[in-house]
Symmetry: C2
Subunit: 197 residues, 2 copies
């Protein structure tokens, strides 16, 4: 039974190829052939790991949410000033240049795609939503949130704001170049908190 150890890694490699195709061509271009070519393997090889396109896309979707969750956990553990950490977490969910760009954009495409698959999107299982809830709880813990703030509404507002920022960041490159994304996020944090960020 050779190469059994590589199995999981190989599935990951294929899923990452799927991400790249989705990033560049959208879900319309995410055919099994395109993904296989991007991964540098044959069609049959891909099929060996994934019984169907649905399996592949589902795996790629779950994996990207998992990766996001892991990165969030990592940042939360960092030893840095609370306010900086909060900004860091939120910025890491945005399509800023680097790894997060791919992740944020692909997450967004998957999210819209889910709509047309009749899937019910459960925010409680969305690592982005969970990260935002943690941030909000952290703000409460630090006693930074304004007294009259509605925690639940603020959470929902932050969630939608970040989704919208990611979407706009995808489409309007100048939002990224000029650090506008960060300015808006810090501006928003200032508006819901008592102290300056």
């Amino acid at each position: 039974m050779p190469k059994l150890i590589e199995h999981a890694k190989r599935k990951e490699m294929i899923a990452k190829a799927a991400w790249k195709v989705i990033l560049e061509q959208g879900m319309e271009g995410a055919s099994v052939r395109n993904i296989a070519k991007e991964a540098g393997i044959s069609l049959g090889s891909l099929r060996y790991y994934f019984a169907s396109q649905n399996d592949l896309l589902g795996f790629a979707r779950d994996l990207i949410y998992q990766k996001t969750a892991e990165r969030m956990t990592r940042i939360f553990k960092l030893d840095m000033p609370p306010k900086e950490k909060i900004v860091q977490v939120l910025l890491d969910l945005m399509p800023t240049p680097g790894e997060t760009k791919l992740e944020a954009e692909v997450r967004l495409v998957f999210k819209i795609h889910a709509r047309h698959q009749g899937e019910v999107f459960d925010a409680e299982k969305d690592s982005v939503y969970l990260a935002i809830k943690e941030v909000m709880s952290y703000l409460v813990l630090l006693n930074l949130l304004k007294k009259d703030a509605d925690l639940h509404l603020e959470t929902e507002r932050m969630y939608s704001l970040l989704d919208g920022l990611a979407l706009d960041g995808m489409i309007r490159p100048q939002l990224l170049e000029t650090h506008k994304l960060k300015r808006i996020i810090v501006y928003h944090l200032n508006s819901i908190c008592m102290e300056e960020f």
Copy 2:
């Protein structure tokens, strides 16, 4: 030269069929055949009005932004209390039950689709962005905006927030059923204004 008058209306009818297909199946399902079937015409007929799929989709995209702009203008002209009017304008950009649901969702799919076409999205030509700029100017005119508010940042924040709300509204039906969408919008307005909405 018969039926020339119907030409424009017929193109509109086909574009609306395209919207419906996009709404239900996403851009992946927006094939010329699916659209023709939805419109109740043959493939050849569709081709008589649109030389290519790109032409059709481009027309459908432009038309939906135009319709949105017209509706915005209509609401702005209504005789109603300023604050109510502002809420009405913003809510009309959301996927609330009714006509706006289709418009908001289809606009969003087009927006993401543009990203993968290499198109440069010009917010200044986005009727949603223009409507939001008008709302913000209106708030300034009414002297409702908080003194320390940054007009440009507030505009960008509102733009992204509405995009994100539309996206979440698409995917999480409970956001619509419970009037949460309106609550968040009014909550946001309260947070940037001096008086209560």
